[in-house]
């Protein structure tokens, strides 16, 4: 089939099914925007994880009466752990200095703490912060150890919220996807019915299977692509106005960058076009004789 003839057929079928195609585009936009939001949330979890890999440590608070041999034994045991990358002893003074550094913006807190109030600590960095609970369990209650704190535990609620939103977005996207696929299927069925005389003549004069199916597949693929691009625009808006605008000053963690957004935009655009074309192909198998 010549490209111009294909475009003519495509324009005719789009004109005829304008309302239906519009419905597919709207549904595809919602579905793919949810999918994209899910992808961005997942990227955000990844971003926070990567940041924390270099930041989070397990902190072992020592009792005031911890002896030198006890501390050295503790340090050497920790170094022997496969998940531990570094072990650093901080004296009471060094711990106090760090505390002053961290809270230099909060004089009210600083004024209530004297150098002797804070325990000496052993700070432990891990290869994988997700395995910190092993260290906490193994070293709590050991001689010379007051307590073992996992900085990561503080962040657990944040992770829970991010994961919850991600699962929610993907679930809604899946529900919306069934509506989108059902609509595309119906669009192709209606389209095949309204063009049945044309396709019958195409068959008779010797048009190939591909030429007969192409306008339908293109129609659905383009509707899916349009939905994908609109969803992509939503993701760009989300990054520009929500992430870079409202959230930027509200959190101490790094937020997703534009690279993750562009990856999301490309993914939803391709997913829209491919889902449209594949569903059309499936519907044509049932509703178009070639």
């Amino acid at each position: 089939m010549r490209p111009r003839a294909l475009l003519t057929a495509l324009a005719a079928t789009l004109r005829r099914n304008l309302v239906m195609v519009g419905a597919v585009v709207v549904t595809a936009t919602i579905c793919l925007a949810l999918l994209g939001a899910g992808l961005l949330l997942r990227a955000q979890v990844h971003t926070v994880n990567t940041f924390l890999l270099g930041q989070v440590e397990v902190v072992v608070d020592l009792t005031d009466d911890a002896t030198g041999p006890q501390v050295r034994a503790l340090e050497s045991d920790l170094r022997a752990e496969p998940v531990v990358t570094s072990v650093d002893y901080e004296s009471k003074q060094a711990t106090f200095d760090r505390f002053r550094r961290d809270f230099h913006d909060s004089p009210a807190i600083l004024s209530g703490v004297a150098p002797g109030d804070l325990p000496a600590t052993v700070r432990v960095a891990l290869t994988d912060p997700r395995r910190s609970s092993d260290i906490v369990t193994d070293y709590t209650g050991r001689a010379g150890v007051e307590s073992v704190r996992d900085d990561r535990a503080v962040l657990a609620p944040l992770y829970r919220v991010l994961r919850g939103f991600t699962i929610g977005a993907f679930t809604l996207a899946l529900l919306q996807a069934t509506a989108m696929l059902a609509l595309i299927y119906t669009l192709v069925r209606a389209s095949a019915h309204s063009r049945r005389r044309e396709t019958a003549i195409m068959r008779l004069v010797g048009a190939t299977d591909t030429a007969i199916r192409a306008p339908f597949i293109l129609e659905s693929g383009l509707a899916g692509l349009a939905g994908g691009l609109l969803a992509g625009a939503c993701l760009v808006g989300l990054k520009a106005f929500l992430v870079d605008g409202a959230l930027a000053g509200e959190t101490a963690f790094p937020l997703i960058g534009w690279d993750a957004v562009w990856r999301g935009v490309i993914t939803v655009a391709v997913a829209g076009a491919v889902a449209g074309a594949l569903t059309a192909g499936f519907a044509l198998r049932r509703h178009l004789r070639v």
């Binding site: 005389r197 004069v205 048009a207 190939t208």
Partner: protein, 255 residues
């Protein structure tokens, strides 16, 4: 051009076969009338030649190609060797005559340049040179059938199948279409025309294949046709009829 050997077609859930044991050979360049009452199997035979249906048994060759087991692509190519016209014209109502004819070239990938010369030529041949920009609804029945013929012949296929092409036309207009088919045949195209109009058959005296209840009952090289009366009776082998005999009324033999 066409070779059928022992072709039988039984539709699903049908008690009787629509065609049974048809063996016939139609050389290139022949004009063949396929006659018989409605339901005798004429249309089924034409549909088998297009592979719009598959035979239940037997072998069908068209233009040197065995139609069984052709891939979609090869089947499409095989169909480009066959032009078809039908009783109901089957034109696209939202396109002009010229666009209807061009459509056949467009969808089979022929170039725009080829269409620019082929379309006016074929419209001239069928007598619609000045009506290319009309829409089907602006044409008479005869003109619509001529437009359908132009579409069928624009790619110059070596075989033309015509399924009751005069069935919806008055006798004089129908005779004009048959004359056009005769000219197409004289130019070298093999023509198979299914009809139950005795006047057309008797006027031309070409090869006649007669079907009765799916069985080939007569194959005469220059036969006439005498449609069966309402009470079925064996037809005479050949009934001469003058060319001037008025054609029977439209649809006279339709069941």
């Amino acid at each position: 051009m066409i070779r059928l050997s022992g072709v039988t077609k039984t539709y699903p859930r049908a008690k009787q076969p629509a065609l049974e044991g048809i063996t016939v050979d139609i050389p290139a360049g022949q004009f063949v009338f396929l006659v018989g009452a409605s339901g005798s199997g004429k249309t089924t035979l034409l549909r088998l030649l297009l592979r719009a249906e598959e035979p239940s048994a037997g072998r069908i060759e068209v233009a040197g190609r065995d139609l069984a087991g052709l891939s979609h692509r090869r089947l499409a190519r095989a169909r480009r060797q066959i032009g078809c016209v039908f009783q109901d014209f089957r034109l696209l109502s939202d396109r002009t005559v010229a666009q209807n004819v061009t459509f056949a070239l467009d969808v089979t990938g022929r170039s725009r340049r080829a269409a620019r010369t082929a379309v006016p030529e074929i419209l001239e041949l069928v007598g619609l040179a000045d009506k290319g920009d009309r829409y089907p609804e602006q044409l008479s029945g005869g003109e619509q059938q001529r437009a359908a013929l132009a579409r069928a012949m624009v790619a110059r296929p070596p075989l033309l199948l015509a399924d009751e092409p005069t069935g919806n036309l008055d006798p004089a207009t129908g005779a004009g279409i048959v004359h056009l088919l005769e000219r197409i045949n004289e130019a070298g195209t093999t023509v198979v025309m299914a009809t139950h109009n005795a006047a057309h058959v008797n006027a031309l005296r070409r090869r006649v294949l007669e079907l009765d209840a799916g069985v080939l009952v007569r194959d005469h090289p220059s036969g006439a046709y005498s449609p069966p009366s309402r009470v079925p009776a064996p037809a005479p082998a050949s009934v001469p009829a003058p060319a001037s005999t008025p054609a029977p009324a439209l649809g006279a033999w339709a069941s």
